[in-house]
C-alpha cells in the first residue's frame, strides 16, 4: 500500500517538475550551481575509478586467457565490451547514486526540516520545480561523465596491459577496434540518459517528502541510495532485455 502510494506520489512529482516554472533569472544560477555540484564535482572520483577498474578488467582477462590459440587482441576487445556495455553506464551510476544521490536527498531534506521549502511555497514558488528542475537539467550532462568513464576505462586497460607485461599496445588497440557495433554505444547512452533521470528524481523524491528532523535526513539519504540502486539495476535488466535481447 505504501509502495503504491509512493509510486503514485513519485509520478505526480515528476509532473510538477515541469509545471509553473520559476523565473529564468532565478533559475539560471541554480542550474549552474547544480552542474558544478553534481557533474563537475563527480569527475574526479569517476575518472579515478574508471581508470583502475579498466586496468583490473584487462589484467583479469589476460590471466584467464591460458590457451595459446586465443587471439592476443582479445584483451582489448573484452575490456572495451565490458566497459562500454556495463561498467561505465551501470556501475558508475550505482556509485553516483551514492555520491550525487545522497547529496541531493540530504540537501533537499535539510531544506524540508528547516522549513526552507515552506518558505519557498509561501512566496508562491513551485518548490518542486525550483529544487528538482535544475538537477534534472544538470544531469542531462551526465552522458559526458559516462563518456569520460568509457574513455578512461579503456585507457586504464591499455596501461595495465603494457606496463604489467600482459600484451603490446598494437594488440590491445586492435582489440579495441575489433567488431565494433555502433548500436552498442547507442544502447549504452540510452541507459545513461534513463539513469540520469533516475539519479535526479528518486533522491529528490526522498528528500522532498521526508518528515522529521536531522536524524531522519541521514536515514532518508540511505533509503534513497538503496532505492535508486534497486531501480537502476531493474531498469538496466529491462532495457537490456528490450534493446539487446
Amino acid at each position: 500500500m505504501t509502495y503504491l502510494h509512493n509510486i503514485g506520489a513519485y509520478f505526480i512529482m515528476i509532473k510538477d517538475i515541469f509545471r509553473r516554472p520559476t523565473k529564468w533569472s532565478v533559475m539560471k544560477p541554480l542550474i549552474f550551481k547544480d552542474i558544478d555540484d553534481l557533474i563537475i564535482g563527480s569527475l574526479g572520483i569517476v575518472a579515478f575509478i574508471s581508470f583502475f577498474v579498466g586496468g583490473v578488467v584487462a589484467i583479469q582477462t589476460s590471466l584467464n586467457m591460458t590457451s595459446p590459440i586465443m587471439p592476443k587482441n582479445l584483451v582489448g576487445f573484452a575490456t572495451r565490451q565490458s566497459i562500454i556495455l556495463e561498467f561505465a553506464p551501470t556501475f558508475i551510476s550505482i556509485i553516483m547514486a551514492g555520491k550525487v544521490g545522497s547529496f541531493i536527498t540530504s540537501s533537499i531534506g535539510t531544506m524540508r526540516v528547516t522549513e526552507q521549502i515552506d518558505a519557498l511555497e509561501v512566496m508562491g514558488i513551485n518548490a518542486i520545480n525550483y529544487l528538482v528542475f535544475p538537477k534534472f537539467i544538470a544531469l542531462t550532462l551526465y552522458p559526458f561523465v559516462i563518456s569520460i568513464a568509457m574513455f578512461l576505462g579503456v585507457v586504464g586497460g591499455l596501461m595495465a596491459s603494457i606496463y604489467g607485461g600482459y600484451g603490446t599496445m598494437e594488440d590491445y588497440l586492435e582489440g579495441v577496434r575489433l567488431d565494433f557495433i555502433p548500436f552498442h554505444l547507442i544502447y549504452a547512452f540510452i541507459k545513461t540518459f534513463v539513469f540520469a533521470f533516475l539519479l535526479a528524481t528518486i533522491p529528490s523524491f526522498y528528500g522532498y517528502f521526508m518528515k522529521g528532523g536531522a536524524l531522519e535526513v541521514g536515514k532518508a539519504s540511505t533509503t534513497a541510495f538503496v532505492w535508486t540502486s534497486v531501480v537502476i539495476i531493474l531498469v538496466n535488466f529491462l532495457l537490456t532485455s528490450i534493446l539487446l535481447g
Binding site: 523565473k23 533569472s25 532565478v26 550551481k33 535539510t110 528547516t114 522549513e115 526552507q116 515552506d118 518558505a119 511555497e121 509561501v122 512566496m123 508562491g124 514558488i125
Partner: protein
C-alpha cells in the same frame, strides 16, 4: 483584517483543528498561545495557505482565500510575510540575497533598486554591515532579524511569526518582540504571532487566542488574561514559578 470561520483540519485520522472562529485586526499583534502540540503551527500554516483544510473559511479583507483564482492567490501571497520558527533562511545565499529573494520573485526591480530596499530593511532590523555573511555565520538572534527583514521586504499587509522567540535568550527575545510590534504599528500590518512565551503575551498581546488540543478555548488580551477564571488558561499562564509568585504578590498587595 483576517476572519476565520469554523476552521477544521485533520491529518488522516488525527483531528488537529476543531472548528476555530476568530478575527485578527489590522495594526496590532494578534497572539496564538497554547502548549506544544496544541495546533498553533498548523493553524498558522492554514492561514498562509500552506495547508488545505476540510471545513471552514479564511478571508483576507473579506476575500475568501480558497475561492480565489490562481493569480489572485499569488497576488495575495505576495502580500504575506512569514517568519518561520527556525528562521528558514536559505543557507546557500548570503544574508542580503535572502532579504532580496522575495523582490526577485515578486517584482521586476533592477538589482540596485533591490539592493537599496534590502539595505533599508536590514537597517530597520538593526543589521547594518552583516550583508555578505552567510546565515550559518550569524547568531540565532541575527538570523531571526534577517528572517523578519525578509518577511517585510516586500511591504506585506500580513505578517505571520511562528514562535519568534524560541531558542533566544530573554533579552534578545524582548528585542525581537518589540521589533515585531513596532513594525506592525509603523506599517499598519495585520500580524499573527504563535508563542508560548508569557513575556511576549505581556509585551505585545493586544489580542490573544488560547488553543488547547485544537479547540479555541479562550479569547482576550494581555489585560484580561491575568484575571480570567478559565482553568486551562490559568494553568498555562501560571505554569511558571515566576508568574505564580508575581500573582501571589499582587493578591497580597490587594489585600493590604
Amino acid at each position: 483584517m483576517i476572519e476565520v470561520k469554523d476552521l477544521e483540519k485533520s491529518f488522516g485520522d488525527a483531528h488537529i483543528l476543531k472548528g476555530i472562529t476568530t478575527t485578527f485586526e489590522k495594526g496590532q499583534s494578534n497572539l496564538i498561545i497554547g502548549q506544544s502540540g496544541s495546533g498553533k503551527t498548523v493553524f498558522l500554516k492554514c492561514l498562509l495557505g500552506l495547508f488545505d483544510y476540510e471545513k471552514g473559511s479564511i478571508a483576507y479583507e473579506g476575500k475568501n482565500f480558497s475561492k480565489l483564482s490562481r493569480n489572485e492567490k499569488i497576488d495575495l501571497r505576495s502580500e504575506m510575510g512569514m517568519v518561520f520558527q527556525g528562521s528558514a533562511l536559505f543557507d546557500s545565499m548570503t544574508i542580503a540575497e535572502n532579504v532580496m529573494f522575495p523582490l526577485r520573485m515578486f517584482t521586476k526591480q533592477s538589482k540596485s533598486e533591490m539592493e537599496d530596499r534590502a539595505n533599508e530593511v536590514l537597517k530597520r532590523v538593526n543589521l547594518d554591515g552583516a550583508h555578505q555573511k552567510m546565515p550559518s555565520e550569524a547568531s540565532g538572534g541575527m538570523q531571526k532579524r534577517v528572517a523578519i527583514a525578509r518577511a517585510i521586504v516586500n511591504r506585506p499587509k500580513y505578517l505571520f511569526c511562528d514562535e519568534p522567540n524560541s531558542g533566544l535568550d530573554p533579552k534578545t527575545a524582548i528585542v525581537i518582540d518589540n521589533l515585531i510590534q513596532e513594525i506592525t504599528e509603523e506599517f499598519n500590518i495585520t500580524t499573527v504571532v504563535n508563542t508560548h512565551d508569557m513575556n511576549s503575551v505581556m509585551e505585545i498581546g493586544k489580542k490573544i487566542i488560547f488553543l488547547k488540543d485544537g479547540i479555541l478555548e479562550w479569547e482576550g488580551s494581555n489585560e484580561t488574561i491575568f484575571k480570567t477564571e478559565n482553568e486551562a488558561v490559568t494553568n498555562f499562564v501560571y505554569s511558571s514559578e515566576l508568574f505564580r509568585k508575581v500573582r501571589k504578590m499582587y493578591i497580597e498587595e490587594d489585600n493590604q
